[in-house]
Protein backbone atom coordinates (compact mmCIF):
# COMPACT_ATOMS: atom_id res chain seq x y z
CA UNK A 1 0.00 0.00 0.00
CA UNK A 2 2.60 2.50 1.14
CA UNK A 3 5.05 1.43 -1.54
CA UNK A 4 2.35 1.94 -4.17
CA UNK A 5 1.76 5.49 -2.94
CA UNK A 6 5.48 6.23 -2.91
CA UNK A 7 5.89 4.70 -6.35
CA UNK A 8 2.97 6.73 -7.71
CA UNK A 9 4.40 9.90 -6.23
CA UNK A 10 7.79 9.09 -7.69
CA UNK A 11 6.34 8.50 -11.15
CA UNK A 12 4.31 11.71 -10.98
CA UNK A 13 7.36 13.70 -9.86
CA UNK A 14 9.39 12.24 -12.68
CA UNK A 15 6.70 13.10 -15.23
CA UNK A 16 6.53 16.61 -13.82
CA UNK A 17 10.30 17.07 -14.07
CA UNK A 18 10.42 15.67 -17.60
CA UNK A 19 7.58 18.00 -18.69
CA UNK A 20 9.21 20.98 -17.00
CA UNK A 21 12.48 20.18 -18.73
CA UNK A 22 10.74 19.91 -22.10
CA UNK A 23 8.94 23.23 -21.58
CA UNK A 24 12.20 24.89 -20.57
CA UNK A 25 13.92 23.51 -23.67
CA UNK A 26 11.08 24.86 -25.83
CA UNK A 27 11.39 28.30 -24.18
CA UNK A 28 15.11 28.33 -24.96
CA UNK A 29 14.71 27.18 -28.58
CA UNK A 30 11.88 29.69 -29.15
CA UNK A 31 13.90 32.59 -27.72
CA UNK A 32 16.83 31.57 -29.88
CA UNK A 33 14.75 31.43 -33.08
CA UNK A 34 12.89 34.65 -32.19
CA UNK A 35 15.82 36.89 -31.34
CA UNK A 36 19.03 35.23 -32.57
CA UNK A 37 17.54 33.72 -35.73
CA UNK A 38 17.08 37.06 -37.51
CA UNK A 39 20.64 38.02 -36.51
CA UNK A 40 21.87 34.85 -38.22
CA UNK A 41 19.99 35.96 -41.31
CA UNK A 42 17.15 33.47 -40.99
CA UNK A 43 13.83 34.37 -42.54
CA UNK A 44 11.32 36.33 -40.48
CA UNK A 45 7.87 34.91 -41.10
CA UNK A 46 5.84 38.09 -41.08
CA UNK A 47 2.97 36.80 -43.19
CA UNK A 48 2.47 33.70 -41.06
CA UNK A 49 2.71 35.75 -37.87
CA UNK A 50 0.06 38.21 -39.03
CA UNK A 51 -2.23 35.37 -40.10
CA UNK A 52 -1.86 33.74 -36.70
CA UNK A 53 -2.37 37.04 -34.87
CA UNK A 54 -5.60 37.48 -36.80
CA UNK A 55 -6.71 34.01 -35.76
CA UNK A 56 -5.76 34.50 -32.13
CA UNK A 57 -6.80 38.13 -31.78
CA UNK A 58 -9.51 39.06 -34.23
CA UNK A 59 -11.04 35.61 -33.94
CA UNK A 60 -11.47 35.95 -30.18
CA UNK A 61 -12.64 39.57 -30.25
CA UNK A 62 -16.45 39.07 -30.21
CA UNK A 63 -16.30 36.53 -27.39
CA UNK A 64 -13.88 38.64 -25.34
CA UNK A 65 -16.13 41.68 -25.87
CA UNK A 66 -19.28 39.89 -24.77
CA UNK A 67 -17.78 38.21 -21.74
CA UNK A 68 -15.91 41.23 -20.41
CA UNK A 69 -18.99 43.41 -20.84
CA UNK A 70 -21.13 40.92 -18.90
CA UNK A 71 -18.50 40.48 -16.19
CA UNK A 72 -18.38 44.29 -15.88
CA UNK A 73 -22.14 44.26 -15.32
CA UNK A 74 -21.89 41.45 -12.76
CA UNK A 75 -19.04 43.11 -10.87
CA UNK A 76 -20.97 46.39 -10.68
CA UNK A 77 -24.15 44.71 -9.45
CA UNK A 78 -22.35 42.58 -6.85
CA UNK A 79 -20.38 45.50 -5.44
CA UNK A 80 -23.37 47.85 -5.65
CA UNK A 81 -25.46 45.73 -3.29
CA UNK A 82 -22.61 45.31 -0.81
CA UNK A 83 -21.45 48.93 -0.91
CA UNK A 84 -25.03 50.24 -0.55
CA UNK A 85 -25.09 48.79 2.97
CA UNK A 86 -22.19 51.11 3.81
CA UNK A 87 -23.65 54.00 1.86
CA UNK A 88 -20.61 53.89 -0.40
CA UNK A 89 -22.25 53.41 -3.81
CA UNK A 90 -19.98 56.06 -5.22
CA UNK A 91 -17.08 53.62 -4.96
CA UNK A 92 -18.60 51.18 -7.47
CA UNK A 93 -16.86 52.86 -10.37
CA UNK A 94 -13.48 52.64 -8.64
CA UNK A 95 -13.98 49.00 -7.79
CA UNK A 96 -15.11 47.98 -11.25
CA UNK A 97 -12.35 49.92 -12.99
CA UNK A 98 -9.56 48.48 -10.86
CA UNK A 99 -10.89 44.92 -10.71
CA UNK A 100 -11.42 44.83 -14.46
CA UNK A 101 -8.08 46.28 -15.53
CA UNK A 102 -5.92 44.55 -12.95
CA UNK A 103 -7.56 41.18 -12.77
CA UNK A 104 -10.69 40.28 -14.67
CA UNK A 105 -9.82 41.44 -18.18
CA UNK A 106 -6.39 39.73 -18.36
CA UNK A 107 -7.59 36.54 -16.70
CA UNK A 108 -10.80 36.10 -18.68
CA UNK A 109 -9.15 37.02 -21.95
CA UNK A 110 -6.38 34.52 -21.33
CA UNK A 111 -8.85 31.76 -20.48
CA UNK A 112 -10.92 32.49 -23.59
CA UNK A 113 -7.85 32.51 -25.83
CA UNK A 114 -6.51 29.33 -24.19
CA UNK A 115 -9.80 27.63 -24.99
CA UNK A 116 -10.16 28.95 -28.52
CA UNK A 117 -6.64 29.33 -29.85
CA UNK A 118 -4.38 27.36 -27.49
CA UNK A 119 -6.39 24.21 -28.11
CA UNK A 120 -6.34 24.77 -31.86
CA UNK A 121 -2.54 25.16 -31.85
CA UNK A 122 -2.17 21.82 -30.06
CA UNK A 123 -4.65 20.11 -32.40
CA UNK A 124 -3.11 21.60 -35.53
CA UNK A 125 0.52 20.82 -34.69
CA UNK A 126 -0.47 17.42 -33.29
CA UNK A 127 -2.24 16.52 -36.53
CA UNK A 128 0.78 17.70 -38.51
CA UNK A 129 2.92 15.36 -36.41
CA UNK A 130 0.59 12.42 -37.06
CA UNK A 131 0.48 13.03 -40.81
CA UNK A 132 4.30 13.41 -40.89
CA UNK A 133 4.07 17.03 -42.02
CA UNK A 134 6.51 18.05 -39.29
CA UNK A 135 8.91 15.35 -40.55
CA UNK A 136 8.44 16.68 -44.07
CA UNK A 137 9.45 20.15 -42.88
CA UNK A 138 12.51 18.75 -41.13
CA UNK A 139 13.59 16.79 -44.19
CA UNK A 140 13.18 19.90 -46.34
CA UNK A 141 15.65 21.59 -44.02
CA UNK A 142 12.99 23.91 -42.59
CA UNK A 143 13.24 24.33 -38.85
CA UNK A 144 9.83 23.41 -37.36
CA UNK A 145 10.39 25.75 -34.41
CA UNK A 146 10.97 28.76 -36.64
CA UNK A 147 8.20 27.69 -39.00
CA UNK A 148 5.48 26.65 -36.55
CA UNK A 149 6.24 27.78 -33.00
CA UNK A 150 7.64 31.29 -33.39
CA UNK A 151 4.81 32.80 -35.50
CA UNK A 152 2.20 31.46 -33.07
CA UNK A 153 4.12 32.67 -30.05
CA UNK A 154 4.70 36.18 -31.39
CA UNK A 155 1.06 36.35 -32.50
CA UNK A 156 -0.05 35.60 -28.95
CA UNK A 157 2.40 38.04 -27.37
CA UNK A 158 0.88 40.78 -29.55
CA UNK A 159 -2.75 39.70 -29.61
CA UNK A 160 -3.29 39.20 -25.87
CA UNK A 161 -2.36 42.72 -24.70
CA UNK A 162 -4.46 44.09 -27.55
CA UNK A 163 -7.43 42.00 -26.51
CA UNK A 164 -6.94 43.00 -22.87
CA UNK A 165 -7.09 46.73 -23.65
CA UNK A 166 -10.29 46.05 -25.52
CA UNK A 167 -11.64 43.94 -22.62
CA UNK A 168 -10.76 46.76 -20.16
CA UNK A 169 -12.93 49.14 -22.14
CA UNK A 170 -15.79 46.66 -22.49
CA UNK A 171 -15.71 45.73 -18.79
CA UNK A 172 -15.88 49.33 -17.66
CA UNK A 173 -18.70 49.99 -20.15
CA UNK A 174 -20.50 46.98 -18.66
CA UNK A 175 -20.13 48.43 -15.16
CA UNK A 176 -21.39 51.76 -16.40
CA UNK A 177 -24.43 50.16 -18.00
CA UNK A 178 -25.34 48.41 -14.75
CA UNK A 179 -25.03 51.55 -12.67
CA UNK A 180 -26.96 53.50 -15.28
CA UNK A 181 -29.87 51.08 -15.11
CA UNK A 182 -29.98 50.56 -11.32
CA UNK A 183 -29.03 53.94 -9.89
CA UNK A 184 -30.15 56.32 -12.61
CA UNK A 185 -26.71 57.86 -12.22
CA UNK A 186 -25.33 59.51 -15.31
CA UNK A 187 -22.88 57.55 -17.40
CA UNK A 188 -20.50 60.46 -17.52
CA UNK A 189 -20.17 60.54 -13.75
CA UNK A 190 -19.36 56.82 -13.66
CA UNK A 191 -16.69 57.18 -16.31
CA UNK A 192 -15.05 60.19 -14.68
CA UNK A 193 -15.05 58.35 -11.31
CA UNK A 194 -13.48 55.33 -12.99
CA UNK A 195 -10.89 57.47 -14.75
CA UNK A 196 -10.02 59.22 -11.51
CA UNK A 197 -9.61 55.90 -9.70
CA UNK A 198 -7.42 54.29 -12.34
CA UNK A 199 -3.71 54.73 -12.33
CA UNK A 200 -1.53 53.92 -15.29
CA UNK A 201 -0.04 51.23 -13.10
CA UNK A 202 -3.35 49.32 -12.93
CA UNK A 203 -3.46 49.11 -16.69
CA UNK A 204 0.12 48.10 -17.22
CA UNK A 205 -0.02 45.43 -14.49
CA UNK A 206 -2.85 43.92 -16.51
CA UNK A 207 -0.87 44.19 -19.73
CA UNK A 208 2.28 42.66 -18.20
CA UNK A 209 0.16 39.75 -17.02
CA UNK A 210 -1.43 39.33 -20.43
CA UNK A 211 1.96 39.09 -22.14
CA UNK A 212 2.96 36.33 -19.69
CA UNK A 213 -0.37 34.56 -20.27
CA UNK A 214 0.11 34.77 -24.05
CA UNK A 215 3.54 33.15 -23.71
CA UNK A 216 2.08 30.36 -21.59
CA UNK A 217 -0.77 29.61 -24.02
CA UNK A 218 1.61 29.49 -26.99
CA UNK A 219 4.29 27.40 -25.32
CA UNK A 220 1.86 24.89 -23.81
CA UNK A 221 -0.08 24.51 -27.07
CA UNK A 222 3.05 24.04 -29.18
CA UNK A 223 4.72 21.74 -26.65
CA UNK A 224 1.71 19.41 -26.43
CA UNK A 225 1.20 19.44 -30.18
CA UNK A 226 4.83 18.60 -30.86
CA UNK A 227 4.76 15.85 -28.21
CA UNK A 228 2.09 13.92 -30.12
CA UNK A 229 3.61 10.67 -31.34
CA UNK A 230 0.86 8.19 -32.07
CA UNK A 231 -2.49 8.73 -33.69
CA UNK A 232 -5.74 10.65 -33.57
CA UNK A 233 -6.50 9.78 -29.93
CA UNK A 234 -3.28 11.47 -28.85
CA UNK A 235 -4.26 14.61 -30.75
CA UNK A 236 -7.51 14.71 -28.80
CA UNK A 237 -5.73 14.27 -25.50
CA UNK A 238 -3.14 16.93 -26.38
CA UNK A 239 -5.93 19.38 -27.22
CA UNK A 240 -7.67 18.87 -23.90
CA UNK A 241 -4.54 19.04 -21.80
CA UNK A 242 -3.39 22.16 -23.66
CA UNK A 243 -6.46 23.99 -22.33
CA UNK A 244 -6.33 22.52 -18.82
CA UNK A 245 -2.61 23.02 -18.38
CA UNK A 246 -2.70 26.56 -19.80
CA UNK A 247 -5.46 27.59 -17.41
CA UNK A 248 -3.71 26.13 -14.35
CA UNK A 249 -0.44 27.82 -15.29
CA UNK A 250 -2.22 31.11 -16.05
CA UNK A 251 -3.78 31.20 -12.60
CA UNK A 252 -0.53 30.26 -10.86
CA UNK A 253 1.37 32.99 -12.74
CA UNK A 254 -1.48 35.42 -12.05
CA UNK A 255 -1.12 34.78 -8.33
CA UNK A 256 2.65 35.26 -8.47
CA UNK A 257 2.46 38.49 -10.49
CA UNK A 258 -0.31 39.89 -8.29
CA UNK A 259 1.65 39.05 -5.15
CA UNK A 260 4.80 40.68 -6.51
CA UNK A 261 3.02 43.87 -7.56
CA UNK A 262 1.14 44.25 -4.26
CA UNK A 263 4.25 43.59 -2.18
CA UNK A 264 5.95 46.31 -4.20
CA UNK A 265 3.06 48.60 -3.30
Amino acid sequence: MLTAVVRGLGAATRRFLVETGAMWALVMVSLDRMFLGPLRGERMRLGATIAQAARAGAGSLPLVALISFLVGVILALQSLFQLQKLGAQSLVADLVAIAVTREMAPLLTAIIVAGRYGSSIAAEIGTMKVSQEVDALTVMGVDPYAFLVVPRLIALLIALPGLVIFADVMGILGGMTAVLLVLNQSGGAFLSDAAAALELRDIYVGLVKSVAFGGIIGLVGCRLGLAVGGGADEVGRATTSAVVRSIVLIIVIDLLVTAVFYVQG
Binding site: R43, T127, M128, S131, Q132, E133, D135, A136, T138, V139, M140, G141, V142, D143
Partner: protein, 269 residues
Protein backbone atom coordinates in the same frame (compact mmCIF):
# COMPACT_ATOMS: atom_id res chain seq x y z
CA UNK B 1 30.19 17.57 -63.85
CA UNK B 2 29.35 15.31 -66.76
CA UNK B 3 26.73 12.70 -66.37
CA UNK B 4 29.21 9.82 -66.51
CA UNK B 5 31.28 11.30 -63.69
CA UNK B 6 28.22 12.09 -61.69
CA UNK B 7 26.91 8.54 -61.67
CA UNK B 8 28.63 6.30 -59.22
CA UNK B 9 29.25 8.86 -56.47
CA UNK B 10 28.12 7.43 -53.13
CA UNK B 11 25.37 9.75 -51.90
CA UNK B 12 23.86 7.70 -49.09
CA UNK B 13 25.97 5.52 -46.83
CA UNK B 14 25.02 3.75 -43.62
CA UNK B 15 27.60 1.94 -41.51
CA UNK B 16 26.78 -0.49 -38.74
CA UNK B 17 23.36 0.92 -37.86
CA UNK B 18 21.92 -0.34 -34.60
CA UNK B 19 18.67 0.80 -33.09
CA UNK B 20 16.51 -0.38 -30.24
CA UNK B 21 12.96 0.81 -29.77
CA UNK B 22 10.86 -0.17 -26.79
CA UNK B 23 13.31 -2.93 -25.85
CA UNK B 24 13.14 -4.48 -29.33
CA UNK B 25 16.05 -4.49 -31.75
CA UNK B 26 14.77 -2.76 -34.87
CA UNK B 27 18.05 -2.34 -36.71
CA UNK B 28 20.74 -4.94 -36.05
CA UNK B 29 23.94 -3.70 -37.64
CA UNK B 30 23.07 -2.60 -41.17
CA UNK B 31 25.41 -1.35 -43.89
CA UNK B 32 24.08 0.27 -47.02
CA UNK B 33 25.46 2.29 -49.91
CA UNK B 34 23.49 4.05 -52.60
CA UNK B 35 25.21 5.70 -55.54
CA UNK B 36 24.07 8.43 -57.88
CA UNK B 37 21.94 7.08 -60.69
CA UNK B 38 21.01 3.99 -58.73
CA UNK B 39 17.70 2.84 -57.29
CA UNK B 40 17.98 0.90 -54.05
CA UNK B 41 14.84 -0.86 -52.91
CA UNK B 42 14.45 -1.87 -49.30
CA UNK B 43 11.97 -4.72 -49.36
CA UNK B 44 10.48 -6.48 -46.38
CA UNK B 45 7.36 -7.44 -44.49
CA UNK B 46 5.67 -4.84 -42.30
CA UNK B 47 7.38 -4.36 -38.96
CA UNK B 48 10.79 -5.48 -40.22
CA UNK B 49 12.33 -2.06 -39.50
CA UNK B 50 12.50 -0.74 -43.05
CA UNK B 51 10.69 2.51 -42.29
CA UNK B 52 12.94 3.09 -39.27
CA UNK B 53 15.95 2.50 -41.52
CA UNK B 54 14.66 5.11 -43.97
CA UNK B 55 14.05 7.57 -41.13
CA UNK B 56 17.64 7.03 -39.96
CA UNK B 57 18.95 7.61 -43.49
CA UNK B 58 17.02 10.89 -43.68
CA UNK B 59 18.26 11.91 -40.24
CA UNK B 60 14.77 11.93 -38.71
CA UNK B 61 15.81 9.27 -36.24
CA UNK B 62 19.19 8.80 -34.58
CA UNK B 63 20.69 5.31 -34.59
CA UNK B 64 21.98 4.04 -31.24
CA UNK B 65 25.21 3.01 -32.91
CA UNK B 66 26.61 3.41 -36.39
CA UNK B 67 26.88 6.31 -38.79
CA UNK B 68 24.86 7.76 -41.64
CA UNK B 69 26.37 9.88 -44.39
CA UNK B 70 24.02 11.94 -46.52
CA UNK B 71 25.68 13.65 -49.49
CA UNK B 72 28.99 13.19 -47.67
CA UNK B 73 27.83 14.71 -44.36
CA UNK B 74 27.95 12.57 -41.22
CA UNK B 75 24.44 13.18 -39.85
CA UNK B 76 25.34 11.99 -36.35
CA UNK B 77 28.41 14.22 -35.98
CA UNK B 78 27.58 17.32 -38.03
CA UNK B 79 26.14 20.56 -36.69
CA UNK B 80 22.45 21.19 -37.25
CA UNK B 81 23.36 23.80 -39.86
CA UNK B 82 25.46 21.25 -41.79
CA UNK B 83 22.66 18.70 -41.52
CA UNK B 84 20.20 21.22 -42.92
CA UNK B 85 22.61 22.00 -45.76
CA UNK B 86 22.96 18.27 -46.55
CA UNK B 87 19.18 17.99 -46.66
CA UNK B 88 19.02 20.46 -49.54
CA UNK B 89 20.26 17.49 -51.60
CA UNK B 90 17.46 15.29 -50.32
CA UNK B 91 13.87 15.03 -51.44
CA UNK B 92 11.57 12.72 -49.53
CA UNK B 93 8.06 11.53 -50.27
CA UNK B 94 6.24 10.22 -47.22
CA UNK B 95 3.81 7.34 -47.12
CA UNK B 96 0.65 9.42 -46.77
CA UNK B 97 2.08 12.30 -48.76
CA UNK B 98 2.50 14.61 -45.74
CA UNK B 99 1.30 17.52 -47.84
CA UNK B 100 0.44 20.67 -45.92
CA UNK B 101 -3.32 20.59 -45.63
CA UNK B 102 -3.89 24.33 -45.71
CA UNK B 103 -1.89 24.85 -48.91
CA UNK B 104 -2.83 24.00 -52.50
CA UNK B 105 -0.70 21.50 -54.40
CA UNK B 106 1.13 24.33 -56.18
CA UNK B 107 1.81 26.07 -52.87
CA UNK B 108 3.07 22.79 -51.41
CA UNK B 109 5.54 22.40 -54.24
CA UNK B 110 6.51 26.07 -53.99
CA UNK B 111 7.23 25.88 -50.27
CA UNK B 112 10.83 24.61 -50.60
CA UNK B 113 11.39 27.28 -53.27
CA UNK B 114 10.02 29.98 -50.97
CA UNK B 115 12.31 28.77 -48.20
CA UNK B 116 15.51 28.26 -50.11
CA UNK B 117 15.48 30.42 -53.21
CA UNK B 118 14.99 34.07 -53.98
CA UNK B 119 12.88 33.39 -57.05
CA UNK B 120 9.96 35.75 -57.69
CA UNK B 121 6.45 34.40 -57.21
CA UNK B 122 5.73 34.10 -60.94
CA UNK B 123 8.84 31.96 -61.52
CA UNK B 124 8.00 29.79 -58.52
CA UNK B 125 4.57 29.18 -59.92
CA UNK B 126 6.00 28.16 -63.29
CA UNK B 127 8.41 25.75 -61.58
CA UNK B 128 5.56 24.31 -59.51
CA UNK B 129 3.57 23.82 -62.72
CA UNK B 130 6.52 22.01 -64.32
CA UNK B 131 7.08 19.72 -61.33
CA UNK B 132 3.38 18.93 -61.03
CA UNK B 133 3.29 18.39 -64.78
CA UNK B 134 6.04 15.77 -64.43
CA UNK B 135 3.76 13.72 -62.19
CA UNK B 136 0.66 14.47 -64.27
CA UNK B 137 -1.04 16.79 -61.81
CA UNK B 138 -0.88 20.07 -63.69
CA UNK B 139 -4.67 20.22 -63.80
CA UNK B 140 -5.01 19.83 -60.04
CA UNK B 141 -2.39 22.40 -59.03
CA UNK B 142 -4.86 24.74 -57.35
CA UNK B 143 -6.66 22.04 -55.39
CA UNK B 144 -6.15 21.27 -51.72
CA UNK B 145 -4.70 17.90 -50.65
CA UNK B 146 -8.05 16.99 -49.10
CA UNK B 147 -9.76 17.33 -52.49
CA UNK B 148 -7.66 14.73 -54.32
CA UNK B 149 -7.24 10.95 -54.15
CA UNK B 150 -4.56 9.03 -52.24
CA UNK B 151 -2.64 8.19 -55.39
CA UNK B 152 -2.66 11.83 -56.49
CA UNK B 153 -1.41 12.83 -53.05
CA UNK B 154 1.55 10.48 -53.40
CA UNK B 155 2.36 11.92 -56.80
CA UNK B 156 2.04 15.47 -55.44
CA UNK B 157 4.39 14.54 -52.60
CA UNK B 158 6.85 13.31 -55.22
CA UNK B 159 6.53 16.62 -57.08
CA UNK B 160 7.27 18.51 -53.85
CA UNK B 161 10.26 16.25 -53.16
CA UNK B 162 11.56 17.14 -56.64
CA UNK B 163 11.09 20.89 -56.17
CA UNK B 164 14.75 21.66 -55.50
CA UNK B 165 16.10 19.07 -58.00
CA UNK B 166 17.56 16.83 -55.29
CA UNK B 167 20.41 14.39 -55.91
CA UNK B 168 18.88 11.95 -53.45
CA UNK B 169 15.26 10.86 -53.46
CA UNK B 170 13.68 8.79 -50.71
CA UNK B 171 10.24 7.28 -51.08
CA UNK B 172 8.34 5.55 -48.29
CA UNK B 173 5.89 2.92 -49.58
CA UNK B 174 5.06 4.44 -52.98
CA UNK B 175 2.47 1.79 -53.79
CA UNK B 176 0.92 1.10 -50.37
CA UNK B 177 -2.83 1.60 -50.39
CA UNK B 178 -3.05 2.11 -54.14
CA UNK B 179 -4.88 0.06 -56.74
CA UNK B 180 -2.55 -2.00 -59.00
CA UNK B 181 -2.98 0.30 -61.99
CA UNK B 182 -2.10 3.46 -60.09
CA UNK B 183 0.77 1.65 -58.36
CA UNK B 184 2.20 0.49 -61.69
CA UNK B 185 1.88 4.05 -62.95
CA UNK B 186 3.97 5.30 -60.04
CA UNK B 187 6.64 2.68 -60.79
CA UNK B 188 6.83 3.91 -64.39
CA UNK B 189 7.06 7.47 -63.09
CA UNK B 190 10.06 6.58 -60.91
CA UNK B 191 11.76 4.87 -63.86
CA UNK B 192 11.14 7.89 -66.07
CA UNK B 193 12.57 10.17 -63.40
CA UNK B 194 15.72 8.11 -63.18
CA UNK B 195 16.14 8.20 -66.96
CA UNK B 196 15.90 11.98 -66.78
CA UNK B 197 18.30 12.56 -63.89
CA UNK B 198 20.97 10.41 -62.25
CA UNK B 199 19.52 10.65 -58.76
CA UNK B 200 20.20 8.20 -55.98
CA UNK B 201 16.85 6.70 -55.07
CA UNK B 202 15.98 4.82 -51.92
CA UNK B 203 12.54 3.21 -52.00
CA UNK B 204 11.00 1.36 -49.10
CA UNK B 205 8.23 -1.03 -50.04
CA UNK B 206 6.60 -4.34 -49.26
CA UNK B 207 5.25 -4.71 -52.81
CA UNK B 208 7.40 -7.27 -54.59
CA UNK B 209 6.24 -6.65 -58.15
CA UNK B 210 6.95 -2.96 -57.81
CA UNK B 211 10.35 -3.66 -56.21
CA UNK B 212 11.52 -5.87 -59.08
CA UNK B 213 10.41 -3.31 -61.66
CA UNK B 214 12.21 -0.29 -60.25
CA UNK B 215 15.25 -1.70 -58.43
CA UNK B 216 18.85 -1.62 -59.64
CA UNK B 217 19.84 -3.22 -56.38
CA UNK B 218 17.68 -4.40 -53.53
CA UNK B 219 17.90 -5.69 -49.99
CA UNK B 220 15.39 -7.93 -48.30
CA UNK B 221 14.97 -7.02 -44.67
CA UNK B 222 13.72 -9.18 -41.85
CA UNK B 223 13.84 -8.47 -38.11
CA UNK B 224 16.37 -5.68 -38.48
CA UNK B 225 18.79 -7.55 -40.71
CA UNK B 226 19.37 -7.79 -44.42
CA UNK B 227 18.75 -11.39 -45.48
CA UNK B 228 20.04 -10.84 -49.01
CA UNK B 229 21.23 -7.94 -51.04
CA UNK B 230 22.08 -7.65 -54.70
CA UNK B 231 20.53 -7.13 -58.09
CA UNK B 232 16.91 -8.24 -58.54
CA UNK B 233 18.17 -11.33 -60.42
CA UNK B 234 20.50 -12.27 -57.54
CA UNK B 235 17.73 -11.83 -54.99
CA UNK B 236 15.32 -13.88 -57.06
CA UNK B 237 17.89 -16.68 -57.29
CA UNK B 238 18.54 -16.75 -53.54
CA UNK B 239 17.78 -20.00 -51.72
CA UNK B 240 17.59 -18.47 -48.22
CA UNK B 241 14.44 -20.02 -46.68
CA UNK B 242 12.99 -16.70 -45.44
CA UNK B 243 13.66 -15.09 -48.80
CA UNK B 244 11.90 -17.95 -50.57
CA UNK B 245 9.01 -17.66 -48.16
CA UNK B 246 8.66 -13.95 -48.87
CA UNK B 247 9.07 -14.29 -52.64
CA UNK B 248 6.67 -17.24 -52.84
CA UNK B 249 4.18 -15.43 -50.61
CA UNK B 250 3.91 -18.27 -48.13
CA UNK B 251 2.43 -17.41 -44.73
CA UNK B 252 4.50 -17.81 -41.55
CA UNK B 253 4.07 -21.00 -39.47
CA UNK B 254 1.92 -19.28 -36.87
CA UNK B 255 -0.79 -18.70 -39.44
CA UNK B 256 -0.06 -21.64 -41.70
CA UNK B 257 -3.06 -23.59 -42.91
CA UNK B 258 -5.26 -21.51 -40.60
CA UNK B 259 -4.60 -24.34 -38.19
CA UNK B 260 -5.98 -22.57 -35.14
CA UNK B 261 -9.12 -21.58 -36.96
CA UNK B 262 -9.80 -25.12 -38.05
CA UNK B 263 -9.27 -26.42 -34.52
CA UNK B 264 -11.62 -23.75 -33.22
CA UNK B 265 -14.37 -24.90 -35.54
CA UNK B 266 -13.68 -28.57 -34.76
CA UNK B 267 -14.07 -27.90 -31.07
CA UNK B 268 -17.15 -25.73 -31.31
CA UNK B 269 -19.17 -28.08 -33.48
Amino acid sequence: MSRAENTGRVLVRAQGLHKQMGGRTVLAGLDLEVRAGETMVILGPSGCGKSTLLRCLAGLERPDRGRVFLAGVDLCAASSRQVRAARRHLGMAFQGGALFGSLTLAENVELPLVEFSRLPASTRRILARIKLGMVGLEEAMDQLPSEISGGMRKRAALARALALDPEILMFDEPSAGLDPITAAGLDQLLLALKALNPVAMVVVTHEMESAFVIADRMVLMHEGKFLVSGTPAQVRASDHPMVRRFLDRRPPETLEGAHGLRRFFAEST
